[in-house]
């Protein structure tokens, strides 16, 4: 089946929102991955909006919101849209934060921990092999457990940190969803992506939206969006 017609042919309908902050720069990639490759309904939502009620899935894209002034995601954390994102998460809607979106999710407390400067001090922009640690989630049900996938990474502050107690909780509840096969940034336990307790909020540094079609080199990121779309009918 052509992926372009995926949502239509499956008869699935889900409304995606891509939240845009001043300084977001992966919003277009996210929008077109959903629109063209998933063929689902998607809209940009500017950060001054305060209502996300009509959307089923909220995407927080990568970039440098507010120039990453102070700390990555710190100023975005007090944008008007944030209370709507928190409400959506509370109501069990799907929330996905990629890269800067992951940093924002930790700053607003929807996910635990924080993202520190990469251990080697470098901004890392390359392809990275990830291991799918838990394929039994809204976000990863189209992957095999322990499957290796190749996603793009592009960040200067992707070194995941949390305290021991939090790490224990993440591990015991299978909330570590992706790990790096070869840790590029010093992340604790090679963590690349985690979910919240309920499992409806995922934050990850790698970019699935940049690997959704073979012309990009890989298309294994598309299955993350397909997972969201198909799982939505069971939730």
């Amino acid at each position: 089946m052509s992926s372009k017609k995926y949502a239509n042919e499956k008869g699935l309908n889900m409304k995606f929102a891509v939240v845009v902050f001043p300084g977001s720069n992966c919003d277009g990639d996210m929008y077109y991955a959903i629109k063209d490759e998933l063929s689902a309904e998607v809209s940009y939502v500017w950060h001054t909006e305060t209502n996300l009620d009509k959307y089923d899935a909220i995407m927080i894209p990568g970039g440098f919101s507010y120039g990453d002034y102070l700390r990555c995601g710190a100023i975005a954390a007090y944008s008007p849209i944030i209370s709507a994102i928190k409400k959506a998460a509370e109501n069990g809607k799907i929330v996905l934060g990629i890269c800067n979106g992951f940093q924002i999710l930790t700053e607003i407390g929807l996910l635990p921990g924080a993202l520190l400067r990469n251990k080697n001090m470098k901004f890392i922009c390359k392809m990275s092999t990830l291991v799918v640690e838990n394929s039994n989630t809204i976000f990863t049900n189209k992957y095999e457990n322990k499957e290796n996938v190749t996603f793009a990474i592009a960040h200067g502050e992707g070194n995941y940190y949390c305290d021991d107690k939090t790490l224990e909780k993440l591990k015991s509840n299978n909330r570590i969803i992706f790990t790096y096969k070869n840790n590029p940034n010093g992340s604790l336990e090679n963590i690349a992506g985690i979910v919240n307790e309920k499992g409806n909020v995922l934050g990850m540094m790698p970019h699935p939206e940049r690997v959704v079609n073979n012309f990009m080199g890989y298309d294994c990121g598309l299955r993350l969006f397909k997972s969201i779309l198909e799982r939505s009918i069971d939730v």
């Binding site: 710190a74 100023i75 007090y78 520190l116 001090m121 010093g186």
Partner: protein, 78 residues
């Protein structure tokens, strides 16, 4: 009017690679006795006269100016 000087640093338990790079560079300059270097942020605020100033600074530091998961803060008021 009050001037508030706020210092934000990574917690002691957290690796500071930028601080380490600075320490190594100081060693190269011959300052071998430098045991550790930590890099932080300095934020200066000017406040209109207000009451409960400590409480207000604490609120600003803990909600926005620092991330208490990874950072400590301290301040002085002139």
């Amino acid at each position: 009017m009050k001037k508030v000087k706020i210092y934000v640093t990574l917690r002691e338990s957290i690796l500071d690679p930028a601080g380490n790079a600075v320490k190594d560079s100081l060693h190269k300059l011959g300052h071998k006795y430098v045991k550790d270097a930590r890099i932080g942020k300095f934020i200066q605020l000017e406040l209109e006269d207000t009451n409960n100033i400590d409480e207000k600074i604490k609120d600003m530091c803990e909600k926005l100016l620092s991330n208490t998961v990874i950072e400590d803060y301290s301040y002085s008021i002139d």
